[in-house]
């Protein structure tokens, strides 16, 4: 059994009007991939934003690597070892591809973390090396996704939060993202993956959690999930 890295206990969060998260409890372990599934509007993105401190939880506890991070500002949470790749990618258009990578790079492996360098990242994403002097604003959707992942890796996170990495990408680019995530998983990096693309999400998952109407409705292994027909029907509409 691998060590627990992240635990959300009874987390409530409000976004706009109305409670989006109601008593969400969730755990992620080091070296494992947790896929968080759910319909549009189930609160998946809100879970990630709340973990990152972009939204302050209204109630509940969030522990990460032994520290209570609920209510801390995003830059402190990131420095505690969380890498964030939002669904909007968040590439900085005023910065070159290289600057996008180096501006947030935190070299040196943390205890239990990986040690990502520019060379390693460019070996994983040769396309980014070719475009390193170009503006971040001129990348294609797939390249932006690669850049967002590469940039998060260079902060040497203990846990990578990935929000819909395949959203809006062509199938051939999705294959590329899949190749990259397989490699990341093989390095032992812990990943919390939010995905609509079920096949993609299940391809890597060690654990599956299903979010519905702001609560975790089910959790288990991918094999258990394959048999849980009522969960799929009720909370995913399959």
């Amino acid at each position: 059994m691998s060590a627990e890295l992240l635990r959300l206990e009874q987390v409530h969060a409000t976004y706009g009007d109305g409670d989006v998260l109601q008593a969400v409890s969730l755990a992620a372990a080091s070296g494992r991939v947790l896929s968080l599934l759910g319909r549009n509007g189930a609160g998946k993105t809100t879970v990630l934003k709340t973990i990152m401190g972009i939204l302050a939880p209204r109630a509940g506890r969030i522990r990460f690597a032994g520290d209570d991070i609920a209510g801390a500002p995003p830059h402190r949470i990131a420095r505690a070892g969380l890498g964030y790749v939002p669904d909007t990618r968040g590439v900085f258009p005023s910065l070159s591809v290289l600057e996008n990578l180096t501006v947030a790079a935190r070299p040196g492996a943390m205890a239990g973390g990986s040690d990502w360098s520019l060379e390693r990242v460019f070996a994983l994403f040769p396309r980014l090396y070719e475009r390193r002097h170009g503006s971040g604003g001129r990348l294609s959707g797939g390249e932006q996704q690669m850049l967002a992942i590469a940039r998060a890796l260079l902060t040497n996170p203990l846990l990578l939060l990935l929000d819909e990495p395949t959203e809006g990408l062509a199938p051939i680019v999705i294959d590329d993202v899949e190749r990259v995530l397989r490699q990341l998983k093989s390095t032992g990096l812990a990943i919390l993956l939010v995905e609509q693309n079920l096949a993609f999400a299940l391809a890597f998952a060690d654990e599956v959690a299903v979010l519905g109407k702001g609560q975790v409705r089910w959790s288990g292994t991918p094999a258990e999930f394959a048999r849980a027909e009522d969960v799929k029907r009720r909370w995913l509409g399959l």
Binding site: I54, H75, A78, R79, G90, P93
Partner: protein, 290 residues
């Protein structure tokens, strides 16, 4: 039209533009980065001028003013920030405008209390007191100094923004503040540094303007509106926007006063309206990720 006369007006316009640039650049970047509007920015300009005047009197040298004015403005900016502005970042534009507008009057009264009501003059340093001949025209050396100072600082700021780590953090913060913070960047601290630097530049503008304009309580009000227009015309958040916006407004003001004096007070507003009709985001707005 006499080309020599045109050259003189061009230099006058350039000199005014450089003062506007020094004032607008801090305001613009802070607005683009934090969506924060500090109407009391002109107060730093006035304080820079008065402290500079006092320092020059004591030290007997203009150069003492050029050091003391920006330092005092930066220190006052840091106090502003810690005591007030830090708590107001999420307060919304209306509250920010009202509070910082109130600070303008506090500033004017404080200056009046310390230095009195009368206008003061700071003499240009003796090395720059004379005139130079350019293409057959006679032009005050000190005004050329203001132009050179503005251009040199624009270059330094450009290099600082494009080539240094703090510059990259600032650009990332202007592009997408939440994303920058989510990567572990302390956007708040970078903002504080930029804010204090912007205040120092406003103080510097106040000292630099002193031998050309008068030093008096309320001088900040006279420069605030053109400065805000530069920020709006240039597009908030960008150094190049502040620079070219300042050039445009500086020239419009100068040439307007010369060629259509009846409309001169209206000229910069006309230019601003025209720019905003054609480019509602300003000339060179910060690019925001979609």
């Amino acid at each position: 039209m006499d080309p020599g006369f045109l050259l003189l007006q061009l230099l006058n316009g350039l000199q005014f533009a450089m003062l506007l640039f020094l004032l607008a650049v801090g305001l613009s970047v802070v607005l683009g980065m934090m969506n924060f509007i500090n109407l009391a920015h002109g107060t730093l300009y006035m304080v820079g001028a008065f402290v500079g005047f006092a320092a020059a009197e004591r030290a007997g040298s203009f150069w003492a003013a050029l050091a003391a004015g920006p330092a005092a403005a930066a220190a006052l900016g840091a106090v502003f920030y810690g005591a007030l502005l830090r708590h107001m970042q999420r307060a919304g534009a209306m509250k920010q405008v009202l509070v910082t507008f109130g600070l303008i009057f506090v500033g004017i009264d404080a200056v009046r209390l310390i230095w009195g009501d009368y206008a003061k003059t700071l003499l240009a340093p003796s090395a720059l007191a004379g005139s130079v001949h350019i293409l057959g025209q006679v032009y005050p050396a000190y005004r050329l100094f203001i132009i050179a100072l503005g251009l040199a600082l624009a270059l330094v700021l450009y290099l600082g923004l494009e080539r240094t780590r703090l510059g990259a953090v600032v650009r990332a913060g202007v592009d997408d503040r939440v994303m920058a913070a989510s990567l572990g960047l302390d956007v708040e601290r970078a903002f504080f540094a930029v804010f204090c630097l912007g205040c120092a530049l406003a103080g510097l503008a106040g000292v630099a303007a002193s031998p050309v304009l008068e030093i008096y309580p309320g001088m900040d009000m006279a420069i605030l509106i053109p400065t805000l227009i530069v920020v709006v015309v240039g597009g908030p958040g960008r150094l190049a926007g502040a620079f070219f916006g300042a050039l445009l407004i500086g020239m419009a003001e100068t040439f307007g006063a010369v060629f259509i004096p009846d409309f001169s007070s209206f000229m910069i507003y006309a230019v601003m309206s025209l720019v905003l009709l054609l480019r509602p985001q300003g000339l060179l707005p910060a690019r925001h990720s979609p």
